[in-house]
């Protein structure tokens, strides 16, 4: 489904990813783990098309379609969702307004009909309740003044509303207490589906106690240096990234 080949990415003229290969079949959840500075966030931003993240070689395809040729919003309409490590505050735009504008923009780009206001509210109410988000909060400016945990829950809410084909979760566990972590993980698990690929980017293993990945990859020095089953995450937790960092260097 999502296929990354030989991907190299520079930021401000500095190479961060150097020939990264990764393929996630439909229906699978993969985790990318790595030390700080390995290029984890660069991978997520490059997949989403963030300006300033220059792809110098390689390909990224989603069901055979070249993602790199598309703008960030076109990628979103094709079903690419990135849960941000630090979700941005959007002053003056209520969460409900933002999410409806985004959903309808995606639908327009796909040639689908827009969602009506009542249908949208019904959808959001149900999803917000699952994530234990107070509906009143969605009337406030998106993410403004929200705690770290509230922002992450707002990301998972949007993911469940947009129902993407590829979900990338960048350090979704950072800033979460144990209860919030459980709610977020349940939200992610509920999104597992045969037609969806998920990529979980994380430094620590603790999120993977709640979301069991099909595959675990180690990102070090800008490329994938090891891959394995879920047991690899436990090995990393026990022994750290040192041996991979040396292998990458």
């Amino acid at each position: 489904m999502l296929c990354i080949k030989n991907l190299s990415v520079s930021v401000d003229g500095q190479s961060i990813l150097v020939g990264l290969d990764l393929a996630i079949p439909a229906g699978e959840v993969h985790a990318v783990m790595g030390p700080n500075g390995a290029g984890k966030s660069t991978l997520s931003y490059a997949l989403a098309g963030r300006p300033g993240y220059e792809v110098t070689s390689g390909t990224v395809t989603l069901d055979g379609e070249d993602l790199l040729a598309l703008s960030p919003d076109q990628r979103a309409a094709r079903g690419v969702f990135l849960s941000f490590q630090y979700p941005t505050e959007i002053p003056g735009v209520p969460g409900l307004t933002f999410m409806r504008a985004a959903l309808n923009a995606q639908k327009r780009a796909r040639g689908e009909g827009e969602v009506s206001a009542p249908d949208f509210l019904r959808l959001v109410r149900a999803k917000a309740a699952d994530l234990k988000i107070d509906f009143e909060m969605l009337k406030r400016s998106l993410n403004v003044g929200f705690s770290g945990g509230e922002k992450k829950r707002m990301e998972i809410l949007q993911m469940s509303i947009f129902s993407p084909r590829v979900a990338i979760l960048d350090e979704t566990d950072s800033g979460l207490d144990i209860d919030a972590l459980r709610i977020v993980a349940e939200g992610v698990n509920a999104m597992r589906s045969p037609g969806r690929a998920m990529l979980i980017i994380t430094h620590y293993q603790r999120l993977l106690d709640h979301i069991r990945p099909d595959r675990v990859h180690v990102l070090a020095g800008g490329r994938i240096v090891a891959s394995g089953g879920p047991e690899l995450a436990h090995e990393l937790e026990a022994h750290g990234y040192d041996k991979y960092a040396k292998a990458a260097a």
Partner: protein
């Protein structure tokens, strides 16, 4: 030096110039090589003004000609559409209007500057006197022509316990200044002075305010926002003076502008001058581009770039409109803002 004096005397030397500190960003002397002839009397029927549907009564001052003043009797509530219309191209004139709001009365003042001609040179002076316990909400839409030179100067005097709320909305002109002086003469009065400038092409708008707290316990709350694109220039000069003895004054001033092109410019000078004790005073001033983080975040969620820019820009200015108390005026202001933003590239 003032534009009004220059127009009255025909003497260009009377024009304010950049050598005066208060006019250094809105130079009229360097701009005008000659003054146009006096604006003629107009006999044309006026189209409806921007607030036509809202006001109990309407006063139109066309090319400087019209009634000299109005009043609101004690305890009454009224709304007045006050229209300063320049119908002649390449004419010069001055206009003046005085409003007295008696004790406990309320006035919703819906003021518009309507440039039907272009290339005119105008100064309009407004005096507002609020008696004790009186309240005024003044909403101004300044719709001058692109080639107009226009100065509006409002002088507001607040008796104790009076309340004055103002929102000035402008799209600028060739050179335009909207100036408000508020005197908290006795203290214990409240003022809100908001402004919004949305400028494109080569338009210039200058929002200048001077608030003087002479007595204790007064409050001033100011929020001005601006969006400039193309080669437009926005100017904000805000000064709050808290005199000795004006203790327990609460004064806040914020000015925030978005610059959407490399060739656009914003000049801002927020000033607090405090000689009293035990006051709460704060000011904030930010000038910058649209938040790239918010832009990318919105695009990642599927909102195309142009739509995301428009959404974030509208959200940025929305706060000023939301603070308008009068519901009808707020709707007119929101529609005006949407129209201005739509007209942008």
């Amino acid at each position: 030096m003032s534009l009004a004096r220059a127009i009255a005397s025909g003497d260009l030397a009377q024009l304010p110039s950049r050598r005066e500190e208060a006019w250094r960003w809105t130079d009229l002397r360097g701009l005008l090589r000659a003054l146009p002839p006096p604006s003629p009397e107009s006999f044309e029927a006026l189209p409806p003004g921007p607030f036509a549907a809202l006001a109990h009564s309407e006063v139109a001052i066309v090319n400087g000609r019209g009634p000299a003043g109005a009043g609101v009797p004690a305890g009454r509530r009224q709304s007045l559409a006050l229209r300063f219309v320049a119908s002649a191209s390449a004419g010069a004139h001055t206009a003046a209007f005085v409003i007295e709001v008696a004790r406990g009365a309320h006035l919703t003042l819906l003021e518009s500057y309507e440039g039907q001609g272009d290339g005119y040179v105008v100064q309009a002076d407004l005096e507002l006197r609020l008696a004790a316990g009186a309240s005024v909400e003044r909403i101004v839409i300044a719709g001058d022509g692109a080639e107009a030179v226009s100065v509006s100067k409002a002088s507001v005097v607040l008796a104790p316990g009076a309340s004055f709320l103002q929102t000035v909305l402008t799209a600028g002109a060739r050179r335009q200044r909207l100036e408000t002086h508020v005197a908290h003469a006795g203290g214990g009065a409240a003022a809100r002075l908001d402004g919004l400038y949305l400028l494109q092409a080569k338009r210039h708008a200058d929002i200048t305010t001077l608030v003087a707290h002479a007595g204790p316990g007064g409050a001033t709350d100011q929020l001005t926002k601006g969006v400039v694109r193309d080669q437009a220039r926005g100017v904000f000069q805000g000064r709050i003076l808290v005199a000795r003895g004006a203790d327990q004054t609460d004064a806040r001033m914020g000015h925030h502008a978005l610059i959407l092109s490399d060739r656009a410019e914003v000049d801002a000078k927020p000033e607090l001058e405090i000689y009293a004790d035990d006051v709460l005073c704060a000011h904030g001033n930010t000038v910058g581009a649209l938040d790239e983080e918010a832009l990318f975040y919105s695009r990642q969620r599927g909102i195309p770039e142009d739509q995301a820019r428009a959404m974030l820009t509208e959200a940025f200015v929305g706060q000023v409109v939301e603070r308008i108390g009068d519901e009808g005026a707020r709707a007119v202001a929101a529609a005006w803002v949407a129209q201005q933003l739509e007209a942008g590239p």
